[in-house]
């Protein structure tokens, strides 16, 4: 309420305040307003800065912008031997091909399936871990647990895939454990069960990322006003109730912002995990969009088709982030834009 009222008050009430406000703003936005001549003179006096930034501007254009220009390929029958101007324009042909391809829908389903599972479980695991760690009173063990929990984040997916496959192998520790406590009679061949693949990938992701993702929640918890806990203690709230009614609501803005960012990235889950953990037996559940683009686009030299997949992905990603953002605004919570 007051946020909406105050600017109007300034304009209606005090004539001096907005003037100060405006000059202040102008100064922030444009430190100086150069004429044409002035610009070149200024640039000349800043030769060193220009020299230090120009190579990287060129780098940005070559390595980040030219690939975006490459999107035109999706609307052409791109032939590598022809130059940019000799390509044949085919309109939306490749997009139509894409939408007529059953494999594409399977890839989309797998991408969103694993993306959503990963998002839910890694967020829950990170928040729970941060909450419980925050409650730990044995400081040394707390520090040690935190330090050790980061470790998997720093090793590559190649190593994690290696670990997962070793742990889940027929004679591996997980099967041994499950058999010795009598949960199963025969070892499960986890990596050869298509229906288990999403679960395996999600579990691997939770194992790899929980400690690292918890840092941000943990940092947010450190900023909670201790007086709130004191007041709750006086009211006789147990520690579980304090966690639920004070800690969690206090970090809610952080949770929402991260959720929005992650929802925007749902479709960008990549292919590393799927490519490294997958095999021919589970391929129907492991094929994700990027892997599809890689196999068809580069593997079969269908460059235009592969680029169309990339564009489709970007569009979905933008739509997802806009939806999440609107949703957050409706809830009246912090949002990214």
């Amino acid at each position: 309420m007051s946020k909406n009222l105050s600017p109007a008050n300034y304009q209606a009430g005090t004539p001096i305040a907005p003037t100060i406000n405006q000059t202040g703003n102008q100064w922030n936005r444009t430190p100086y307003s150069p004429g044409k001549k002035n610009f070149w003179q200024k640039l000349k006096s800043q030769k060193a800065l220009l020299f230090m930034s120009l190579p990287f501007v060129i780098w940005l254009i070559v390595f980040r912008y030219i690939p975006v220009l490459g999107w035109t390929m999706a609307f052409q029958d791109y032939k590598p031997q022809n130059s940019l101007f000799e390509q044949k324009w085919v309109g939306l042909k490749h997009f139509k091909d894409l939408f007529n391809e059953p494999t594409f829908y399977r890839a989309l389903e797998n991408t969103l399936g694993m993306g959503i599972l990963g998002l839910i479980f890694s967020t829950l695991a990170a928040i729970t871990f941060a909450l419980l760690l925050n409650e730990m009173r044995f400081t040394r063990l707390k520090k040690l647990t935190q330090t050790i929990s980061y470790l998997p984040h720093f090793v590559s997916w190649v190593i994690v895939a290696n670990i997962v496959i070793t742990m889940l192998s027929i004679s591996g520790p997980i099967n041994n454990l499950l058999m010795s406590i009598g949960l199963i009679d025969n070892p499960i061949n986890f990596m050869a069960r298509p229906n288990m693949f999403w679960g395996v990938v999600t579990a691997a992701e939770v194992w790899k990322s929980t400690g690292w993702n918890a840092i941000i929640y943990f940092a947010a918890m450190a900023g909670v006003d201790p007086q709130l806990y004191e007041a709750a203690k006086v009211d006789g709230a147990s520690r579980l109730r304090q966690m639920w009614h004070i800690t969690l609501p206090s970090i809610r803005p952080v949770i929402i912002v991260l959720l929005i960012l992650n929802i925007g990235n749902l479709i960008n889950i990549g292919f590393e995990k799927q490519m490294l953990l997958g095999n021919n037996i589970v391929m129907e559940r492991a094929l994700v969009i990027d892997l599809y683009a890689l196999n068809y686009g580069i593997g079969m030299f269908r460059y235009s088709f592969g680029t169309a997949i990339g564009i489709f992905k970007s569009v979905i990603s933008i739509i997802l982030i806009l939806i999440a953002n609107t949703f957050a605004r409706k809830l009246g919570e912090g949002r990214v834009f």
Partner: protein
């Protein structure tokens, strides 16, 4: 101070945290044990965190054997060193120019930098670009595409922003030019953030395998440890977890692909284990700072 009363909840947390430690470390210790155990003995199974028949054979195979693993190790180290150094110089330089409010090109360059965080050309256009630039099977393919990252530049710039202007102003009055200010004042004062970003760059370089897979497969000299590991993984994956293929040659040497695989895993993990505890306090602040900014 009041003495802490240990409740049931505290005991529960204690057990849980020990559980987290075990779940995180056990796989690494198990793999270490396999890598240090005699290969034929490992096949009997039931190995946990201590080797049963201790041997260095698997590591000898990597560092002294016929396999190209030694050169892959050297290549991993080389690309990590070169990539981190060039990457950090590039990001710091650009961040410095963007921290200068009076720089006339500040706004447009910031703009084209930030845009790259939201759009990217995607796999195929990038692949074709690398090919057009002639970077295929070239060492530079490890360095050039990863030179800059908008997020890192922004993190460094916000750090430089907090360095008092008075320092650079007075240096200017003493006749220092922008290069001198950069090398003599900004770099030494930015060491904490440089350490953080260097760690991220180094870890990224060390762990990278996909660029080798895509761009450098044709040149065996450019193979890295992660890529060698990926290849072994790829070969054994088909038998879905249980490594059964043991060539006669490997049996004769008392090593097998699985043991070699575990030894490479350990070698690829150790550098990270050595480095990250030292830099922990930096990256925690770095990450929090970055989160606040985004």
């Amino acid at each position: 101070m009041k003495k802490l009363k240990i409740t049931f909840f505290d005991i529960f947390l204690l057990v849980l945290m020990v559980g987290v430690i075990v779940v995180t470390l056990y796989p690494f210790l198990n793999i270490l044990a396999i890598s240090l155990n005699d290969a034929t003995d490992t096949a009997r199974g039931g190995l946990h965190i201590f080797p049963r028949q201790f041997t260095w054979a698997n590591y000898q195979e990597i560092f002294g054997g016929t396999a190209d693993l030694w050169s892959a190790f050297v290549m991993s180290v080389l690309r990590t060193l070169v990539g981190t150094i060039t990457g950090i110089i590039a990001s710091t330089m650009l961040a410095f120019t963007l921290s200068r409010r009076d720089y006339i090109l500040n706004a447009p360059i910031s703009f084209i930098l930030v845009i790259t965080m939201f759009i990217s050309g995607g796999l195929i256009p990038e692949y074709l670009l690398i090919r057009e630039l002639g970077l295929m099977n070239n060492f530079l393919v490890y360095i050039l595409p990863m030179l800059l990252n908008a997020f890192n530049v922004i993190v460094i710039r916000s750090f430089i922003d907090n360095i008092p202007m008075a320092l650079t102003e007075s240096a200017k009055i003493d006749g220092a030019n922008d290069f001198t200010i950069f090398w003599r004042i900004i770099i030494p004062l930015s060491l904490p953030v440089i350490a953080t970003v260097s760690l991220f760059l180094a870890v990224g370089q060390w762990n990278s395998w996909f660029d080798t897979y895509l761009y450098a497969r044709g040149n065996a000299n450019l193979s890295t440890l992660q890529f060698e590991l990926m290849k072994i993984l790829d070969n054994t994956n088909i038998s879905s977890g249980s490594v059964t293929s043991q060539s006669a040659e490997f049996v004769a040497r008392r090593t097998n692909p699985q043991s070699i695989q575990m030894a490479i895993t350990i070698i690829a993990t150790v550098p990270i284990l050595v480095v990250y505890p030292f830099l922990q306090r930096y990256f925690v602040t770095g990450l929090t700072l970055g989160a606040v900014k985004s």
